[in-house]
Symmetry: C3
């Protein structure tokens, strides 16, 4: 059983955060939250999303799992205005999801969850540095790095008490320094890792520019990015595997 | 003889309504109105346009016929600001149309009207249902249908007193209900027909989102769409042949 | 030695005026100004740019020459907001340009100036007519000409005291008349020349629509276009060779 009403903007934010990594996913319709975990086909980037029951206008679920095509569901949600409410109701027998938006009814055929790639276990990592910054600061560093390289280096300078987003190209280099004063928060620690820029660009697309992003970072370790949406009742964690630094 | 002055926005609305169906057309320069009738190459969609002499700042014509390339004429009209006036004057000898827009003169070579496909006779049909709605309601249904199918079904439910825009895809379905209360007007009657979505999308492109659209509908019969532009002095009727419903 | 601070918008205007003609150029870092001269690969269009030291927030230079990739430098300047300041500093040893924009550091590898096409000598021409008009008037004529031809004719009618931008296509013609009253200034004289529209379109892209453009024109002679940017402290002159008129 699943029956819920949610604002179009909250649903869209949720879908966008997952669709940057995968085309199809399982959605767990838990009693107290809607939850999605997914890993991209190359096993490099993972996402863990939860949207609390309280983020919905109304929410009833009993622990089922459905499989969905994300771009299809995004198209439907795109038919709504941001403040429209979207009604979702699962028809258990036909395995279809009925979606209602202001007089418009859409019947979405679901995908057999067993045909969808297994959900990843996102490991607990005790990463030594934590940087909290605005989405648009992250965005600026990623855009700059993209001018010169396919890789991006994130590091903390413990003495300078600053966070660095860097990229080295064949001829040109880029270096964005964000000082403790410019950051929302900084827990300095030994942290210096290299990542695929494509993945970070994709994740960054889903992060609202005014969101507070928490970056957990280590030395040649995966990075974790957290942010919230849906008035704090939606939670996204990305994890991205590091590239081995050649030097 | 033809000499007229018209606002750029009125001329553009007129041209757009025809150019969605054909690339070239005959324009009848009648004494009391400018008139265009055209049918698309596949004989599926027709348009009947008239723009009253009163819609022009000034209008003199004596019943001639000219042939024009519509996209060329749209490009020229596109050089004007919306509230600019466009002067049109036919040079009978050279068969060229002189177009003046605020100091800019454009000499447009006309097309021999005899080389253009014959104008269709748009049949009088006594269709049992008439739905009056806003352009943007129509647009919403067409956009939704386009997510799942190449066909679109328009129907009236006489008991529910509502108009339905529907589409059935291979796996997903869409259904937009517009009730009598949401419609501008409804004359209910037996009406249920299927149409090619591509044609309806094209016609819809020309319909201003705030226009009042009158839909005349029957059972497996052509649909007629009427709307006005140019402060009520321009009149467009589209007619679209039905698709045979397979079920 | 070169060290300067300049507003992003001024730097972008300078780069844009040159990049419409060439991909790489030499920049002369003179004591009192930054100067660029360049000619396109086909020797048809030339640009002569100077940006006075006073146009910078601060400026120190001793006459060196650097070679740059313009689109790369434009991308970097594009990372700044219009009112951001951009710091430029030449590292003589590594032959790299260090660019700083609000915490972002970019190290740009320079190009050996000797590998860049020689700077043209832009001839002094005593052209008989001078037309001063707004960038958007020029733009309108170019856009209109582009509908019918690859060439554009600029001429002055000494009796009518007007400037004409004209184009003749295979079937259609375009003629924009700008009278003395509509012009900012006119020194009439025998002037009638034909130009490649592609070049004039490119030059026009760099000219701000609210700039005052001075056109120097003769009979089958090159045209010179002047405009200013950077609050009057940046100066651009384009010279474009004429096409031989076939009639």
């Amino acid at each position: 059983m699943f029956k819920a009403i949610v604002s179009a903007s909250t649903l869209r934010d949720a879908l966008d955060s997952v669709s940057v990594l995968v085309e199809e996913c399982k959605i767990r319709l838990n009693e107290d939250e809607l939850a999605i975990r997914a890993v991209d086909p190359a096993n490099v980037g993972m996402v863990d999303l939860s949207l609390e029951a309280a983020a919905f206008e109304s929410y009833e679920a009993d622990g089922g799992v459905i499989g969905v095509n994300l771009s299809r569901l995004e198209d439907i949600a795109g038919m709504a205005n941001s403040d429209d409410l979207i009604q979702l109701e699962l028809d258990e027998e036909t395995r279809k999801l009925h979606i209602q938006i202001e007089g418009l009814s859409y019947t979405l055929a679901l995908i057999d969850p067993d045909s969808i790639r297994q959900e990843p276990d996102i490991p607990d990592l005790d990463l030594p540095a934590e940087i909290v910054l605005e989405g648009n600061q992250m965005n600026r560093g990623i855009k700059a790095a993209d001018m010169v390289s396919d890789h991006i280096r994130l590091r903390v300078d413990e003495e300078a008490e600053a966070f660095y987003i860097e990229a080295e190209g064949d001829t040109d280099d880029v270096d964005l320094e964000i000082t403790r004063e410019e950051l929302i928060d900084l827990t300095a620690g030994p942290a210096d890792s290299l990542f695929s820029l494509d993945y970070l660009k994709d994740m960054n697309k889903a992060i609202p520019s005014d969101a507070e992003v928490t970056v957990e970072l280590g030395e040649e370790f995966p990075v974790k990015l957290h942010y919230e949406f849906g008035e704090g009742m939606g939670h996204v964690t990305y994890m991205l595997a590091p590239r081995i630094q050649s030097d």
